[in-house]
């Protein structure tokens, strides 16, 4: 079990998966402020604060590489007590369960793509991120963040929307928004996504933990088409020229399931990480 499930999951609910615990999707709608207290300004939310904290680490990347490595080690050791958003890869089957449980679900523009590519997602056909929970009812407070607005969806609409992004090759990452409160499901790719990039390029783990699954290939069914190699964002799949089949490095595998959903012959399946003793604690 990952440390997030140990901290925030309930073993009697959905195998202890923290992101499938209804309590982590629930929040009050209103708060009584003290006299003179104003509403939080843009940039004070957990997402922006986490980004600034990562930025503090990044400034040492060229200034002091030893300190940079040390800060990353310390950040990873903090786990839940650190000032970072928690993010975990989930396969589409679990993303479906999340959108059935989360309330409400709203598609919105991706902040990472705005930063990485100066690319604004202008309408509901382009939105690639979701915000979850009652906080989305106050989206207008932060027009800079939610440029173009948001698009509230029913669970069926949300599943169809997730399928669209999965087909395009995006990894689903579930994110917190303060403590264990589930704030969103992102549809991510390298290098646009800050969380994937921070993990793959710099080893910052908290924002992109591996899923509870690992991909496994049936060589008899594999035809060596290479679709899975193209879809893997984490470099875990290699085409073996001499065998004319693909091979999955399960130590590198994040269990996103893009290879499974892309495989035309059904040669790849996701298996519970717990079933591999050597992978049980590889997050």
């Amino acid at each position: 079990m990952c440390w997030v499930c140990e901290a925030y999951g309930d073993p009697e609910v959905e195998n202890g998966r923290w992101y499938l615990n209804p309590k982590n999707h629930s929040r009050n709608m209103y708060k009584i402020k003290k006299p003179g207290q104003k509403a939080a300004a843009y940039g004070s939310d957990p997402e922006a604060q986490s980004g600034r904290n990562i930025g503090e680490i990044m400034q040492y990347r060229f200034k002091d590489t030893e300190k940079f490595q040390q800060l990353i080690k310390e950040a990873n050791a903090m786990k839940g007590s650190g000032p970072f958003q928690i993010g975990q890869v989930i396969p589409i089957q679990e993303a479906y369960k999340v959108v059935e449980m989360a309330y409400p679900v709203a598609a919105m523009s991706c902040i990472c793509r705005i930063h990485a590519r100066a690319q604004e997602e202008r309408n509901e056909h382009e939105y690639s991120c979701t915000g979850l929970g009652v906080g989305m009812l106050k989206w207008e407070r932060w027009p800079e963040r939610y440029k173009g607005g948001v698009n509230f969806m029913t669970p069926d609409e949300a599943k169809e929307w997730l399928r669209k992004w999965n087909k395009k090759g995006m990894v689903h990452i579930i994110m917190t928004f303060g403590g264990s409160y589930v704030g969103g499901v992102c549809n991510c790719d390298y290098p646009d996504c800050g969380m994937i990039r921070n993990r793959v390029d710099y080893g910052i783990e908290t924002g992109c933990l591996k899923s509870h699954w690992v991909a496994k290939i049936d060589y008899d069914l594999c035809t060596g088409c290479g679709v899975c190699v193209q879809r893997c964002q984490f470099g875990a799949i290699k085409f073996e020229v001499t065998l004319e089949k693909t091979n999955i490095d399960q130590m590198k595998c994040f269990g996103c399931g893009l290879c499974e959903t892309g495989c035309p012959t059904g040669a790849i399946e996701l298996v519970d990480r717990e079933s591999f003793p050597g992978l049980r604690e590889v997050w």
Binding site: N28, Y30, K31, Y103, N123, L137, F152
Partner: protein
């Protein structure tokens, strides 16, 4: 949601005037004083019966007034919720609409800044009352024995039942935890 609104013209929080009105009309200090007076010299069985009648009546009026004032004093959060419900064909109505009025009811009469919501989804609305002024007042004015009978639970249960009936939402209301035993009260509305 294509237009961008000028955010500073809206309030996303509950109207303070509404909260003040409700707080004054359903002041828990005054209500518990009236109850304490009403049960003087009565037996435990009579206190139970009196408590049920008294607090059911209080709860019913309290939530209906919260519903009425909540509609008269809308905030932008509620307006966006109604737009989202309309867009999603009625999905989201339960549990978010009852949640709003329950939060209005408790935030106006209790000394709390938030009402802990344990679950809010299409199947269940669960909320918790931890530092309850009504219970504390009963302990002070009526004694520990009467407070531990928890007659005030009828107010919260009736409020939740009445709210769902008036909103025409079919839900089963249950009490999942009780202050004397668990240190907090917890109520659940389960969609039928």
């Amino acid at each position: 949601m294509k237009e961008l609104y000028i955010a500073e013209n809206y309030s996303y929080e509950l109207n303070p005037e509404m909260l003040k009105l409700l707080g004054e009309e359903f002041d828990v200090d005054k209500a518990t004083s009236r109850f304490a007076e009403a049960i003087k010299g009565k037996s435990a069985a009579e206190i139970e019966a009196e408590g049920k009648v008294f607090f059911e009546d209080y709860g019913r009026k309290w939530i209906r007034r919260s519903l009425k004032l909540g509609e008269e004093y809308p905030d932008r959060t509620y307006e966006v919720l109604l737009e989202a419900i309309d867009k999603c064909g009625g999905y989201l109505r339960f549990a978010l609409v009852p949640q709003r009025f329950i939060e209005i009811a408790y935030l106006s009469t209790q000394d709390i800044s938030i009402l802990p919501i344990i679950e809010n989804n299409a199947n269940r609305l669960v909320y918790r009352m931890v530092d309850c002024q009504t219970y504390k007042n009963l302990q002070e004015k009526c004694g520990e024995e009467v407070a531990n009978l928890l007659p005030c639970r009828h107010a919260c249960l009736t409020a939740c039942e009445t709210l769902h009936q008036d909103l025409e939402i079919d839900a089963l209301i249950q009490m999942e935890a009780q202050m004397p035993k668990d240190g907090y009260c917890q109520f659940a509305a389960k969609r039928a």
